[in-house]
């Protein structure tokens, strides 16, 4: 069918610039990284092919722990983003005066350079001079400075909260948009039947947001899995490695210790994990909308 062939060719022409660009800029370093992962590349000028050794090295006990921690960290962060994003979207959707201002006010964490946002959180978490500790003491909820970044579990949560904070604006706005695209008459019908606000949220809003939630979960999963700056600036993976995630470990290995080969292997591993997520995502969305698009 000549008609269709020309269409396919046109589609590829449209895609080509973007594809070539990404291929040139990202694919090459990607392949480079992949090759590197089989070598002992370091600062030394000569590199040797070492086969699977780098991958074998990864699976020492410590790294298993890091992987596990990464998953937990990511899980909580993404889950919180979804919960807070949903909450925020619902609140900002309420027809109360000032809501467009409130919507604007959710944007700053997204706009501010990430490092700066993190520094501000660093201030907040500071036990001696920070706002949280200060307020807790002021209100008598703590009898001395509370150093949030000092202990494994508080630091763990502190980094998660900061990650959530950075991710929440986009999630909120996206969810807000999703909520607004739910037909209003569904709510009116439910209300006519006596469903209260909470009931309407639970039985209508939430189920109909599922596609948006899945999409956002996927996108923020990728971002969160790779979230580096937050942990690095706040704790550098400490104390005692309790906030070290895969990406931190990869950075420490590749950039800190200059073991480029081993670092590359870790990067490849991250990529494999994320590809699995992606794959799962596609499966799930296909099941959700089995019919092709309209």
């Amino acid at each position: 069918m000549s008609v269709q062939r020309s269409t396919v060719i046109f589609a590829w022409i449209l895609l080509l610039p973007a594809v070539l660009y990404v291929l040139a800029i990202v694919a090459y370093p990607l392949v480079d990284t992949f090759i590197l992962s089989f070598t002992d590349a370091s600062l030394r000028k000569t590199t040797n092919w070492v086969g699977w050794i780098n991958y074998e090295k990864i699976f020492n006990e410590r790294f298993a722990e890091v992987i596990f921690r990464t998953f937990i960290w990511t899980f909580f962060s993404v889950a919180l983003k979804m919960v807070i994003g949903t909450f925020g979207a619902c609140m900002l959707n309420a027809a109360v005066p000032g809501r467009s201002l409130f919507r604007l006010l959710t944007m700053p964490p997204w706009i501010v350079p990430m490092a700066i946002g993190i520094f501000m959180w660093g201030w907040m978490y500071n036990g001696q001079f920070g706002m949280i500790s200060g307020m807790l003491q002021r209100f008598g909820l703590a009898d001395g400075p509370v150093a949030f970044l000092a202990y494994g579990n508080t630091a763990f949560w502190a980094t998660i909260i900061t990650d959530v904070w950075i991710g929440v604006p986009l999630v909120t706005i996206y969810f807000l948009a999703a909520i607004q695209s739910i037909p209003k008459d569904l709510y009116e019908a439910a209300w006519t039947d006596g469903a209260g606000r909470w009931y309407r949220f639970r039985r209508i809003t939430l189920p109909l947001m599922v596609p948006a939630i899945i999409t956002m979960s996927m996108l923020s999963l990728i971002a969160t899995f790779n979230s580096f700056d937050i942990i690095w600036i706040l704790t550098q993976g400490g104390p005692s490695g309790e906030t070290t995630t895969m990406i931190i470990d990869t950075y420490q290995t590749a950039i800190g210790s200059k073991k480029y080969g081993e670092g590359a292997a870790r990067a490849v591993l991250i990529c494999i994990f994320l590809s699995l997520f992606c794959f799962a995502y596609f499966r799930v969305t296909r099941r959700l909308n089995p019919e092709k698009r309209a």
Binding site: D185, L186, E188, A189, A190, T192, D193, G194, P207, L208
Partner: protein, 377 residues
Amino acid sequence: MGQLFLNKVQKFYGDYEVLKGVQLEVKNGEFVVFVGPSGCGKSTLLRMIAGLDATSAGDIVIDGIRVNDLPPVKRGIAMVFQSYALYPHMTVFENIAFPLRVERMEEEKLKAKVENAARILHLEQRLQQKPGMLSGGQRQRVAIGRAIVREPKIFLFDEPLSNLDAALRADMRIELAKLHRQLKATMIYVTHDQVEAMTMADRIVVLDSGDISQTGAPLELYHKPANQFVAGFIGNPKMNFLPVTCKGVGANGVEVDYQGQTAVLPVTPRDGIAGKALTLGIRPEHIQLGGGDIVFKVTPTVIERLGANTVAYASLNGESENFCAMLPGSVGIRADAPVATGINAADCHLFDEAGIAFERRVELTEIDMNVINPTAA
């Protein structure tokens, strides 16, 4: 139970007065249809009765209680939306069960009720499907099912059939009529399709830009429209209007002159209309080929042959297709071939300059009084 009273109900959007003091009483068990052209405020009025929109002024009284500030569920009404507003993520069963779940009805009773509703609406086979898999008519029935399980005092329908195709619409019309008889609930039905209005209503309320233009049984509106607006709106094809001059008033009615021909129309005369320009109304179905009290030649420009009848359109006085005649199916007319048509004075309507009708001296009993006021029967 299910008696509704609208007392000077008004609605403003900003400065714009959408409803201008609607006064209406709906009896228990009545099937009332709101008709009117697009934008006349039908949906707004319905939504105000439902409690979806706020009332700017006036009272909405249901069973003697002023409900202006009550939420819909407390008003004992159920509404079927034009878009059906089915929950896409729930099965038909859950959609119908929704109002009962809200009430936290216990599972067994709920199941019995939903199944009963499904039986009435012939949805038994569909209960486990999602709305996306249903046809338009089935969706419509699900929406109705959701309304009936609650056993409301009053049903509100906002153009429920307008998304359906003609055949389905006809079927659903019948089903709704039967449902009304079965449930004996008060129903208020909005449509801009006046065929629906004519066929389903006990009483039709014709709205004209925020005002009630006339209220009455379908055939009353058909035979005795109170004004030119109602006359034009009720009946399909539309009534033809011809400019006439009043020649005089007699015992038998009003004598009018149309292009030199005179006829005495059997309507109740009024004083001081002699010599005035009036409007004569004649329905297309009352135009016949050949003789009549007034005859004129027309050249049909468009002829629609529907099988059972034939509709001919013609220009009168140079205006575009302002004249329409509905003739028998096998009538021998052709486009562009002039024919002689005639009308009988008894079929004519007469309107004054303001569009107010002169009362026709039609004995509605002749037509079968029982039909005109079926609830009275």
